[in-house]
Amino acid sequence: MSVSRILTIVALGVLITISLTTFWDLARQSSGRTITIYGYSAMEEPLKNEVIPAFQEWYRQTHGEEVEFVTAFAGSGHLFNQIRAGAPAQVAIFATEIEPTKLMEDGLITTDWRTFPGNGTFALTVAVILTRDGNPENIKSFDDLGNNGVDVLLPDPTTSGGAQWAILALYGSAFLNGTGIPSDGGTEPAAKLLKRVINNASSLPESARKALTQFGLGYGDALLTYENDALVDIAKGLDYEIIMPQSTIAIEPKVVIIDANIGEEDAALVEEFMDFLWGTEAQEAMAKHHFRVVDQTVFRRHATNFQKVDSPFTIDDLGGWDEASTQIIEGAWREAQRD
């Protein structure tokens, strides 16, 4: 047999294998009751370990049927790109409202999440500062992150949709002056703070999780992060201290349903899952994983685990997502970086 003939056969073999595996993969997906969930990184542990198993159990008992879950967890931006590119997500949990808004514009979402309880938020958290044990740099507020010689880590708001909360927290703390009322100097102090912090930033990891990892490796004096992530690490026994600023932003993740990916036969199942998220069982699970849940009865049971925020503010105090993303993320933040 000639070499060229062998090569031809090999090439054909490779092509056939590739096509077969592709079809097999496609064919495999349509069997049984499945629900596909995409979630931003922090959702992985509570959902995978508690909420999903609990739902499966509940479903088995009420309907006598098994539900299979297909899950993917990554940064919000990444999830958004995948879903827009055709990933079969049916339920998605985003850290911000930016991505759902775009998906709605694209027509993939038709059900407005603001019609869900809590405007689509079933658990929230706040932005905090994490320091080394004993707070050696004596950081008390977001403003202190701009002090000379403080090495700050914070995630990159361009890549991680969720990381935008950190910037908004910084900005808002200066802009709203801890009172909920815009300060006299207008946006000037807020822009200045962003500039001071970016000058102190030694790294802008593309996700909040990676920022936490780098902090764990010893980089940085202070990390701007989510309370739930910080509590996870402290629960692991790491020598960190959570600094709760007098005023910080309430981080409201949004759970949405991607209507384009939900067939008639799945609609009821998805709806039952959505209801389940606001139910006591799921709320307990989220609280256990250091989220401030929306169910006040459940939250009160866990309230001692959370530090009190004197003067919280929300995205609406900053004019809502539309304005916040253009004015602050795209505007003030980029400006601060360019100087």
Partner: protein, 267 residues
């Protein structure tokens, strides 16, 4: 018959695998027209990242050009105990996932790392800055020059170098007049590969760069960042620029080596 089947499957595969995605990038980049393309690649962040990447690739190529030649020379010319071990070590950067390289460096040079510890006590920070990214790029691209120059050194007789010595050449003279001319074209090839690889390095860079726009963001990180932010146009535009640079490099390489062989044939 077999010839056509082979040609069709070979070229078809190439088109499917490489040409098609590249075309897609180009169309994506020009979707908004030339003005939009220009705007995307002329933002301060884009310009900075491109300049940063080119500087990085140049420095990487210069250092690995010298050090790679040195290692290739040692491996080709000297006999020592751990030689085969060292020799296989050279290729490892190709096999090790870039991300592993990245986090290993992050650990090693971190505030609690073996090297980073003493350095950070001295107030020196390597990671999240140019030196750190450079170290990662040096690591990732190390094999190219060594593997390009090595075989040439292995083939070239030691005799020529010794002849030069007996004719009055010092160590440097031997290198300048005999060794270097022999490895010159291999060194160019190795350097172009090094440069191109550095240009596109992502996996290790994203770990060690700190990803600071306008400070430590390389062009591939810019693409990643813009893509994740949903700015597909900016990401594609920068991709096109990188693809074009690489294409010019490799085309130039083809031309240069082609001319070299042509020149030889003519003589």
């Amino acid at each position: 018959m077999a010839r056509y089947a082979l040609m069709t499957s070979g070229i078809g595969f190439l088109i499917l695998l490489i040409a098609l995605p590249l075309t897609a990038i180009f169309t994506q980049a020009y979707q908004g027209g030339l003005a939009a393309f220009w705007e995307a690649v002329s933002s301060p962040e884009a310009v900075f990242s491109l300049r940063y990447t080119l500087t990085l690739a140049t420095a990487t190529t210069a250092i690995n050009g010298v050090m790679g030649t040195l290692v290739a020379y040692v491996l080709a010319r000297y006999e020592f105990r751990a030689k085969s071990f060292i020799d296989s070590l050279v290729d490892l950067p190709i096999a090790i996932p870039a991300s592993v390289t990245g986090f290993t460096l992050l650990l090693l040079y971190g505030p609690v790392g073996t090297i980073g510890g003493p350095l950070s006590d001295a107030g020196i920070r390597i990671m999240f800055s140019f030196p750190g990214i450079l170290v990662a790029h040096l690591f990732m691209t190390f094999p190219y020059v060594v593997r390009a120059v090595g075989p040439v050194l292995q083939d070239s007789e030691r005799g020529e170098e010794e002849a030069a010595q007996t004719l009055g050449a010092s160590g440097f003279g031997v290198f300048r007049y005999v060794t270097f001319p022999a490895i010159q074209s291999a060194l160019i090839v190795g350097s172009i590969f090094t440069f191109a690889r550095s240009l596109g390095e992502f996996g290790a860079t994203i770990m060690v760069s700190g990803n600071l726009a306008l400070r430590t963001q390389t062009a591939p990180l810019f693409i990643f960042s813009e893509f994740n932010a949903g700015n597909i146009e900016a990401a594609s535009a920068m991709s096109v620029v990188l693809v074009l640079i690489s294409f010019v490099l490799f085309f130039g390489l083809k031309f240069a080596t082609g001319k070299l062989t042509l020149g030889r044939a003519l003589q």
